[in-house]
Amino acid sequence: MEVKVVREILEANEVIAKQNKELFSQKGVYVLNLMGAPGTGKTTLLEKTIEMVKDRWPLAVIEGDIATSRDAERVARYGVQVVQINTGGACHLDGNMVREGLKALNLDGIRLLLVENVGNLVCPAEFNIGEDDKVMVLSVTEGDDKPLKYPLMFQVSSLLILNKVDLLPYVDFDLEKFRDFTRKVNPRLEVIEVSCKTGQGLQRWIEWLQGRLEGRR
């Protein structure tokens, strides 16, 4: 006998993500899901961000990695609450992993929760965790064709941080082409060009963040 079952396969994750979102909203926490390939500079951006805003907004960090607590150790040096989630092989964070991670954090008084997803340009795009915004980090060493190769990641993100722009003179990254591809794949996606090395563009990123946090109030 054939049984019709038209349902979303990831519906269980959506339910948990929604519950997380309700909790964040109750606590008045703005949550950012930071995604991007391994080595693109997510943790470095996180460190720079923490340095720049930790006195302004009480913040906490969730670090997602397949293995090791290296990133959490890097972040802990800044004296902020951080929890490391090891996915044990899974290539993305999901709503349930974040919910588990939250048990180790005290969100009272926290305004900003930065979640660093597992380095991957495909899988994290499918799994909501209850975030307010998805922010994608891409570095110029990865190539200007990435919007065409990984369109979904560009389409689910609110903001793209183009990192390592200080390396533009040394790599074959065509900025005009990249802007054109990005606009076609997602015309609503904001792009901020930064270099975590030189500090270029970081102020604009913090202003963007401020706009989102104030919108959240």
Binding site: V3, K4, V5, R7, E8, I9, A12, H92, F127
Partner: protein, 116 residues
């Protein structure tokens, strides 16, 4: 690589439905997967098969229909295989019709008596 997580979600739904229909065995499951999701049908089938050991779905065939990316432009009509939100012809905004699916469609069960 997210196929395992997707297969897990799928298995939960199938098990729940099988219990609802008091099925002894699930012989086939049909799903729709959008091309934009990056899901590999073979990897999904492999994960589903592995997770099905000792479950009601053991031995079930997983049929994966890959849905192409389709967009509709007000002026230029429907286009297939275009993962853009801007029309490649006129540059206008388009509406995405398909390509993001991750859906179960149906399943075939044996020894099922309709639940009340």
């Amino acid at each position: 690589m997210h196929e395992v997580a997707i297969a897990q979600g799928l298995l939960e739904i199938v098990k729940e439905q099988a219990a609802l229909y008091r099925a002894q065995k699930v012989t086939k499951v049909k799903v729709k997967v959008g091309a934009l999701t990056g899901v590999l049908p073979e990897a999904l089938r492999f994960a589903f098969e592995a997770l099905s050991r000792g479950e009601v779905t053991e031995g079930a065939v997983l049929e994966v229909e890959v849905m192409p990316v389709k967009v509709r432009c007000e002026s230029c009509g429907v286009m297939e295989g275009v993962p853009f939100l801007l029309c490649p012809n006129c540059g206008g905004l388009v509406e995405m019709l398909s390509g993001r699916e991750l859906q179960i469609e149906s399943m075939e069960i044996e020894d099922g008596g309709q639940s009340s």
